[in-house]
């Protein structure tokens, strides 16, 4: 044995191989290291994948939903489909960013596809006017391009739009990029035929406390619920001398919170705009109640309403201004808010309910306590939905419909809310959202849900959303907050600091909070008009003038405060 080994070792070929290895030892070492580095991902490669190399059918979903939601729904639906049909699915998630990026992508893809169709199929000449008109809901009703688009099946290559806010879906539906399907087999209109029990007040109501839950024409439908609230870090609160957890929006305007509020730019995040709108709506409602309680008021109901709206608007903006003045800065993603709060970089922030609840769960200790908490201010937020809808020209409408059926059906609805490990629940992470179908809130189901005790359909009654009060100003809110709070944050923040340090002198505070330039008439009048005209020069000039005025105002207030005025 030994001899043979020696002979083998002394064999010229072995010697040559050894010499070769000796000569190339550095290269071999480098290659081995490379292989070792690459081995990790190979060894840990997921066993089942929703993006297989070979597949039978593909479903393209565009979505702002986060990773955990995509993973749970992707796996559950692929497994369901495999079991039903034996086909292997490729779920192609497109995640360009938040809702604003999605809107931009859909718009540009749809316009490009329509240009192709217009020139190649209809043999018409393409012009900027056509480009403007085809997706414009305000185009003249007999506009040829608009008519051609609505009659066409021009697609974006994407099947389903999943997640976002009802507002975004309404915009898409108006533009014509979302469709209801053929009313029999495909689309939500087809589902309404097959499952009429889902699309009624006992299932998914059309509206709840003023918030739209589904499109009456079936172009989109809510899949789960969301509300806005305050996420906070108890350690930081105690450190900055606040003994109790926040309970209402106006708590955040407390000067103790100076530099400790996490906010994100409403221009980037639909959910933040929504939260700000809620805050204003709440002020309008309390102004309404206050005015109504005045004995012997001579106001007619219309006057009462308009005065309440104007006063509430002012009060709401004043609150937003103070909260912004307290803000550390404005981040670009709303997901960063719960992270910053959990990390102790901010005492509190505004965010969507399930972000807050997940943050609470992520840092929960073994004894069940958590430094992070979340509250939905009672009477300060409506319950709205995250919808789903099929896009015009969906490559595989049948599969798209099956997915929507899955999401709205019992299996999908349970995925949103069940705890990990419950039968029919998520596999890896609890998604901590609430199902949209009212009929699922049975005691048996609630026992298996992470947040069943939230009783959203009951709580929703504490707040009635009046879309007519802020609808005309929705874009104006975004614009005004951007100009007077986000863009001018440095000056506002500094002026607020001097004001606090000098004991909040009355006149300085007045100057700081002077909102006459953006009062309700201006917001729904001049400002809304310029925003609606889509003339960017006008808009930027307005932003510059307003911004300059407010920045000067803040600087002036800061100086006055320093003089103790």
């Amino acid at each position: 044995m030994n001899e043979r080994l020696t002979a083998l070792l002394e064999h010229p070929r072995t010697q040559a191989a050894l010499a070769w290895a000796q000569q190339w030892r550095k290269e071999l070492a480098v290659c081995l290291l490379m292989v070792a580095t690459l081995a990790g991902p190979f060894l840990l490669k997921p066993t089942q994948s929703t993006a297989p190399a070979r597949y039978d059918r593909r479903l393209v979903i565009i979505s702002p939903h986060h990773d955990r939601i995509r993973a749970e729904f992707g796996h559950a639906f692929a497994a369901y489909w495999k079991q039903q049909t034996g086909q292997r699915l490729y779920i192609d998630w497109r995640v360009p960013g938040g809702t604003s990026e999605i809107a931009m992508l859909i718009k540009s893809e749809a316009t490009a596809a329509f240009q192709q169709y217009w020139q190649k199929q209809l043999h018409q000449t393409w012009s900027p006017i056509v480009a403007q008109a085809c997706l414009n809901p305000k185009a003249a009703p007999n506009d040829a391009a608009r008519e051609a688009y609505l009659a066409s099946n021009v697609g974006t290559g994407i099947d389903v739009f999943f997640g976002g806010g009802a507002y975004d879906f309404e915009q898409q539906a108006k533009a014509g990029t979302l469709v209801a399907g053929d009313g029999a087999k495909t689309g939500l209109s087809g589902l309404a035929k097959q499952h009429p029990e889902w699309f009624c007040d006992a299932g998914i109501p059309e509206k709840l406390s003023g918030e739209p839950f589904r499109d009456p024409q079936g172009r989109w439908c809510g899949t789960c619920l969301s509300s806005s609230g305050i996420v906070f870090n108890r350690d930081v609160l105690r450190r900055i001398g606040i003994a109790t957890d926040p309970v209402a929006w106006d708590n955040l305007a407390d000067p103790h919170y100076y530099g400790q509020i996490a906010l994100s730019d409403p221009g980037k995040s639909g959910s933040v705009t929504k939260a700000l709108e809620m805050l204003i709506q709440q002020q309008m409602q309390s102004a309404y109640v206050r005015l109504k309680a005045v004995p012997k008021s001579k106001l007619t109901p219309e006057q009462l309403e308009s005065q309440a709206v104007a006063e509430g608007w002012n009060e709401g903006l004043r609150l937003i201004l103070r909260i912004s003045a307290n803000a550390r800065y404005f981040t670009d993603f709303s997901t960063k808010i719960p992270l910053e709060v959990a990390r102790g970089d901010a005492a509190a922030g505004m965010c969507i309910d399930f972000y807050g609840r997940s943050a609470e769960e992520d840092v929960r200790k073994a004894d069940g306590t958590s430094r992070v908490g979340f509250i939905a201010p009672l009477g300060g937020t409506s319950i709205s939905v995250d919808p789903i809808g099929m896009l015009r020209g969906a490559p595989d409408p049948e599969l798209a419909t099956a997915f929507m059926e899955f999401v709205l059906g019992d299996a999908g609805q349970k995925l949103w809310c069940y705890r990990v490990g419950e039968l029919g629940g998520p596999i890896h992470h609890a998604l901590r959202r609430l199902p949209v179908r009212h009929d699922l809130y049975t005691p048996d189901n609630i026992a298996l849900m992470s947040d069943g005790q939230e009783a959203p359909f009951v709580k929703a009654q504490a707040f009635t959303y009046h879309p007519e009060r802020t609808a005309a100003a929705f874009n104006a809110i975004r614009f005004i907050v951007r100009v007077i709070c986000v863009d001018s944050h440095d000056e506002l923040h500094a002026a607020w600091k001097s004001t606090i340090d000098h004991g909040m002198p009355e006149r300085a505070v007045q100057v700081l909070e002077d909102l006459t330039r953006v009062k309700y008439e201006a917001a729904t009048g001049n400002i809304a008009r310029i925003l609606a005209a889509r003339d960017k020069i006008q808009e930027t000039r307005l932003a510059r003038e307003l911004g300059d005025a407010f920045r000067n105002q803040y600087i002036k207030a800061g100086r006055m405060a320093e003089r103790g005025q």
Partner: protein, 564 residues
């Protein structure tokens, strides 16, 4: 090189640039000069200058660029001089370590720095433990002092660029010149100021320009600090505002003009090829052995700079192992779960394969193009060679996101370059995008090489009967090979770490490069930053193995870059 070949390169480059640089920019910028009625207008551009916020943004960008460049120079020049002149303990090792920040993706470092500088982060915990800070009033480093933070981060990320260039220039310097000055009685300081510095100026300039323009247009770092009063962030923040706002494009146009102006001004004042053809070293350089104390001083200097520069990434490493890092100097409970989740994530394996494919191809394209451009601009008297050189530097001045939108616009269905999409696969598009954006590094390092290799060597070969092409192939290219390798490695690693093009152009998860996979993980709820850190650490290890491995395999050839 024969005239016809250089003309061919010139024309080829111009065509390539027209198609893949000028055209996409135009496709993206068009709206900056087109009024509502589609007539030409300068209203948007003039509005940029009227707006105080935009003016402040430009000014802040400029300030950041100036301080970053100065800071990087102050850090890199002494390092380079120490390395080339002196022998000190651990010299070779320190030389590799000090280049580490180049392989560390800044946006991954961002995750680390945010965790460490937070109010309940590692730095504050350390200061509180040391009794230097009141636990009730921790400093909010990220909330205040943001400008300083940005400059520090950029200096620590960008100094290797100047270091590499300065070290290469210094080691190519003929020691005989300095010795001559010393013989004439010139003291060390004025020798450095009057002989060495002017001679290495092209190298320092090459690095300095890249750093200046880079920091002028840098978006990632200010974005990480959520600092929105710099132009790049203003562009980024308004570009995805869905109403088709033309102002970001007007801002891009303004930024482009300024960057070009800075580059040309710099070239005019510092880049004049006064040392051109100074020749290679005629005598070998002897490194001076320092006394033990001073030697260790040098080592410490290198070590401190390296430590500072990799600190964010040390944070990333800790974060990738930590369960919940909160209020302690180092995380108190560790886990491997994040690695299991991140490396086992659906996106990971395919994104790694994609990134390797895209970056390697992009590196090859950039290498071929860059060498051609550098040769034409340094060695020929062709009309317009300066334009070519400037053109090749311009990609630095254009924010990546604008180029990305341009590429997207020009490859839409029905557009002339639609064929580049290969169905839905963005391979060609990403390779071109990466190559164009990494071209400046290759061009600068190749040009520095060509400037320092005397044309006389090539002329001698031609005198002996070699054809111009053969002389180039056999004489000049081998001599500039270290520069080319360095440029190619830079191009490769930066392509691996490219963010903006990857974000926009790779839409389908199957085609995601690794940066987009990391980015997708960051935004994951809950443990997102930990997962992203874990994948980031993997990427850093991979790049380190690649670059150090290349160093080992190429051995002397790569080392020669720094020794001449």
């Amino acid at each position: 090189m024969s005239k016809s070949l250089s003309l061919l390169i010139f024309l080829g480059m111009t065509a390539f640039f027209a198609c893949f640089f000028a055209y996409p920019i135009w496709a993206a910028l068009e709206s900056a000069f087109r009024g509502p009625n589609h007539q030409f207008t300068l209203d948007y551009v003039s509005e940029v200058f009227l707006n105080e916020l935009y003016r402040e943004g430009l000014w802040n960008s400029f300030i950041i660029a100036v301080w970053t460049t100065l800071g990087a120079l102050c850090l890199a020049l002494p390092l380079a001089v120490c390395y080339v002149r002196f022998a000190f303990p651990g010299r070779a090792l320190m030389n590799s370590l000090v280049l580490m920040p180049m392989i560390l993706p800044p946006f991954v470092g961002a995750i680390g720095i945010k965790t460490m500088l937070g109010q309940a982060g590692a730095l504050n915990s350390l200061l509180i433990n040391l009794g230097l800070m009141d636990a009730l009033h921790p400093t909010d480093w990220l909330g205040q002092h943001r400008m300083l933070g940005i400059i520090l981060m950029e200096v620590l990320h960008l100094y290797p660029i100047i270091y590499l260039n300065a070290a290469a220039a210094l080691s190519n310097l003929d020691p005989a010149l300095e010795e001559a000055a010393a013989n004439m009685g010139c003291n060390a300081w004025s020798r450095f100021l009057r002989i060495t510095l002017p001679l290495i100026m092209p190298g320092v300039f090459a690095g300095g320009t890249i750093v200046f323009v880079w920091s002028f247009t840098e978006m990632g770092v200010p974005l990480l600090f959520d600092y929105d009063r710099v132009t790049a962030v203003q562009i980024f923040r308004s570009i995805n505002d869905l109403s088709g706002n033309p102002f970001p494009y007007a801002l891009v146009a303004v930024m482009l003009v300024f960057s070009t102006l800075f580059y040309l001004t710099g070239k005019l004042f510092f880049g004049s090829a006064s040392s051109g053809g100074g020749g290679r070293a005629t005598t070998g350089r002897e490194t001076i052995s320092l006394p033990t104390g001073l030697g260790w001083g040098c080592t410490t200097f290198f070590a401190v700079v390296t430590f500072m520069a990799v600190l964010p990434h040390l944070g990333v490493v800790l974060l990738s192992f930590s369960k919940d890092w909160y209020g302690t100097v180092i995380p108190h409970s560790l886990t491997l779960q994040h690695y299991r989740d991140a490396l086992g994530h659906e996106l990971t394996l395919s994104s790694i394969a994609n990134s390797l494919k895209y970056s390697t191809l992009a590196m090859l394209v950039a290498l071929v193009l860059g060498t051609g451009v550098a040769y034409v601009s340094v060695r020929t008297r062709l009309w317009g060679r300066q334009i070519l050189d400037t053109m090749a530097m311009l990609p630095l001045a254009v924010p990546g996101i604008v180029m990305a939108f341009g590429y997207l616009a020009m490859t839409r269905e029905g557009q002339p370059f639609h064929w580049l999409m290969l169905g839905e696969d963005p391979l060609l598009l990403l390779v071109i995008a990466y190559a164009v954006r990494r071209l400046p590094y290759v061009v600068r390092s190749a040009a520095a090489g060509f400037q320092q290799v005397s044309p006389m060597l090539e002329e001698a070969a031609q005198n002996l009967g070699a054809s111009p092409e053969k002389a180039l192939w056999r004489i000049t290219l081998p001599l500039v090979a270290p520069n080319l390798v360095a440029g190619a490695l830079l191009a490769f690693s930066f392509a691996m770490l490219e963010v903006s093009d990857s974000m926009i152009l790779a839409q389908q998860a199957t085609y995601f490069p690794i940066t987009k996979a990391i980015y997708a993980l960051v935004l994951a709820l809950g443990s997102g930053p930990n997962l992203a850190s874990a994948l980031g650490v993997w990427a850093m290890i991979f790049l380190a193995v690649t670059i150090l491995g290349a160093g080992v395999i190429l051995g002397k050839k790569l080392g020669a870059l720094f020794r001449g």
